[in-house]
Symmetry: C2
Subunit: 264 residues, 2 copies
């Protein structure tokens, strides 16, 4: 075994996925940002999967096909959800080899605050984190197809470097959102908490050509949090936000209260 | 206005939903358990939505149709996910009236530990909790169509009564799982934390009639937690588990650590 084979053997495996689908510009930007840092393996949905949350596919079987659209980087498209992609990557593509890190995105649109709950981008990263792989989801506050990902790529590279060189606790997961600002305006990355926010829905009610009602989901974002340590605050003040995320959803505070109050 | 009209005006609104679909036996059992406790409004998916997590429907419009299958109780079926049902209920059925509580289930199958992340049952309840409605999801460890819901109904009634009579903090959400045991074995409800557990996936690889591969998701549940205060422990010891759940996913511990360790 020569030295270069040893280096090859120890190089990090970077699993890349997203929820906008494998042809979205954001995933290409993410790949470019970490190019050269290890063996990149891309497994992403074959169609847009925004808002799919932590959905998995159990009622229909899944398809998985190799694609060659990233200059020779190993890539697969999957007919399932972002979470399916991560599960299939582990079992069928990496065949039990554990990725060093998993990066999801770059999502076209914000996933700060309560949006994490609905986000396929973050759910894919969470799925990897549940598997013990340090993971991060990246989202850009510019929805447009021709968004400029320059600052995003710098943020991805910075966070990926830190993830590859820091000893992180099992279950580490970051929700990173990047503001739409110029280089001059951009103030760097800020570690934040999830803002308390929600969506106020108003369904757009229409009638089909047969006179029957149907509804489009629309909504208005409402920030209920005035703190200056939240992701929403950071983004409004030209920082990229990084929220460390957990998937133990137990409310220990309410658990303690009810254990006292309720006779069970 | 006479007295009965006043009583009517102040009666609780109980929003009922699920992820197994409006015709599942579990939702009927849930309705029976809370019958007479208030105005029941049922809004549930028109088809099974297991494993849909917190998915919302944004790429296609939604349908919403009244159904009369619960002896005159107001009920609607929706073409979307469990979370869509809760959103539509608020905006288009209750037209801004806030339900007193929201109950989801009774799910056919367990939603303890990490399963909460994938569960449509729990995501529907969480959506209502985000809206400020005290909510609970109920799941029964018996998958069969003709499962006996007797003990489940007692648990639902007990929890619903407590929710209707206790002053609970905003965002209250419970994940309740009920073991498949006899009346004699059943030990009551225990307040727990979410067990640290995961699924080890093995996709079942097959070939279609054209020779092309496809995959079915299968997996083995792995409890990594030896604590005796977890939901998995409770269920294994013949208790129903009640985990208070939160949707602030910030890991404050990791946030503190990184704020010190990382130069940002």
């Amino acid at each position: 075994m020569n030295l270069s084979a040893v280096a090859k053997k120890n190089e990090p495996i970077i699993l890349v996925t997203n929820d906008d689908g494998i042809t979205a510009p954001g995933i290409r930007a993410l790949i470019e940002a970490v190019h050269g840092k290890g063996r990149i393996v891309v497994v992403a949905p074959d169609s847009p999967q925004s808002g799919k949350g932590h959905a998995i596919t159990i009622g229909v079987p899944l398809r998985l096909d190799p694609v060659d659209i990233f200059d020779g980087i190993e890539a697969w498209q999957c007919s399932g959800t972002p979470v399916d992609c991560v599960k299939l990557a582990r079992d069928k593509i990496l065949k039990g080899q554990v990725p060093t890190i998993c990066l999801s995105g770059i999502n076209h649109g914000a996933n700060h605050s309560i949006n994490i709950i609905y986000s396929g981008t973050m759910s894919a990263a969470m799925e990897a984190a549940i598997e013990g792989i340090p993971s991060a989801g990246f989202s850009y506050l510019d929805y447009s197809f021709d968004a400029d990902f320059t600052i995003c790529k710098e943020v991805v590279e910075d966070v990926a470097d830190k993830m590859l060189t820091t000893d992180l606790p099992r279950g580490t997961l970051f929700n990173v959102n990047i503001p739409e600002v110029s280089r001059e305006q951009f103030k760097g990355i800020k570690i934040c908490r999830q803002a308390n926010a929600k969506w106020v829905e108003e369904f757009d009610e229409r009638r089909d050509p047969h006179g029957k009602k149907y509804y489009w989901l629309t909504g208005e974002f409402k920030n209920l949090d005035s703190g200056n340590d939240t992701d929403v605050w950071a983004l409004e003040n030209d920082y990229a936000s990084l929220v460390p995320v957990q998937f133990d959803l137990t409310s220990y505070q309410l658990k303690e209260k009810l254990s006292k109050d309720w006779k069970l």
